[in-house]
Amino acid sequence: MNIFEEDLNDTITFWEKIKNIFRGKSLWMLHYCTGCGAVELPPTMTARFDMERLGMGPMATPRQADVLLITGYLSVKTLRRVIYTYEQMMTPKYLVGFGSCTINGGIYYDSYAVINRLDYYLPVDLYVAGCMPRPEAIMNTFKTLENMITKGEANGWKKYVENYDWYRNNQIRSLGEVYVKDEFHE
């Protein structure tokens, strides 16, 4: 990274840049697999591609995670849980959509239970095309995401706060209400 004179004088920008570099170097991924794309993650995590050399690791709880992966189709029932999960995550948080289902519905374009586009409900930082994307494509995505974070371009979480009303209206329109009914704990 080049450090210029202006950057040194402008403390906020400078420290923001330093923070962004650190953020990009240690990404904790929420271990919550939503669709069929999740089968591409085991080879990405294990010996062959070894995600950990990029500083990424799986994390079990949303409150400690940075990255939420939406791997494939997202049913209405899952979307409620995903919105809960995304809102629990600490900022800065990043959302990556896998496969054609999150982009335009894919083969579920006419399903009564599966949403058609993800960025209508939650801010997506990066999409991976394909059905399903290969582990190489996923590694490439993680590298791109890292670069975007370092440059300060992955601003989905800011967008979500700024346009919260729009996202909320869309969620209500498709889901009726965002609350999770848990029959087994009634």
Binding site: D110, L175, K181
Partner: protein, 184 residues
């Protein structure tokens, strides 16, 4: 033990007491019968006593032209590996049928499932109208053949708008520059 002979024997006994409309063996080790709706619980009790102890599945078929629903009960016998399929037809308007949770307690969830996806009410199953998979559903049951999933999807889940002209021009430019070949 020959299961085919057993099946014929069993069907003969059933035919003595009940009106069986159709009897087929679609596969080896599979028996299928069509019965009157009033006789079905009695037949299932009899079969459970004879060794068909597992209820594998209850499902429903929508015969929209006949204006009927067909309920299909699949039983399995672990001692000779035979599947028994009992079918019965009920009315499509205000569909209602008796629950079999007294015979097979595992039927509880299948009946809830059928209520949710076809709208069939099961008398005797107190939980049958509780939602199971679809949360806050606000339309007709989705597995009925007169339900249009595409129309529902368009209304509830907006799709991405594409600029068709832009993508067409991009393809033309790519052909001109030789990046892709035009299909013959």
């Amino acid at each position: 033990m020959n299961s085919t002979n057993d099946a014929k024997e069993l069907i003969r006994i059933l035919e003595k007491s009940f009106d069986i409309k159709d009897f087929t063996t679609p596969k080896k080790n599979e028996i299928s019968i069509v019965v009157e709706q009033n006789n079905l619980p009695t037949i299932l009790t009899y079969l459970k006593d004879k060794g068909w102890k597992q209820l594998s599945l209850i499902t429903c078929v929508d015969w929209i032209k006949e204006n009927k629903f067909e309920l299909v009960y699949v039983l399995f016998n672990w001692s000779n590996g035979t599947t028994f399929v009992a079918k019965t037809k009920i009315e499509r308007e205000n569909p209602e049928y008796m629950s079999i949770i007294d015979i097979f307690p595992g039927a509880k969830y299948y009946e809830r499932d059928i209520h949710e996806f076809f709208g069939v009410k099961f008398e005797g199953n107190l939980d049958s109208e509780k939602p199971l998979f679809l949360e806050l559903w606000d339309d007709k049951p989705p597995m009925r053949k007169d339900f249009d999933p595409l129309e529902y999807s368009k209304r509830k889940f907006p799709d991405r708008k594409y600029d068709v002209e832009v993508s067409k021009n991009a393809v033309k430019d790519a052909i001109k520059e030789g990046e892709i070949n035009e299909r013959t």
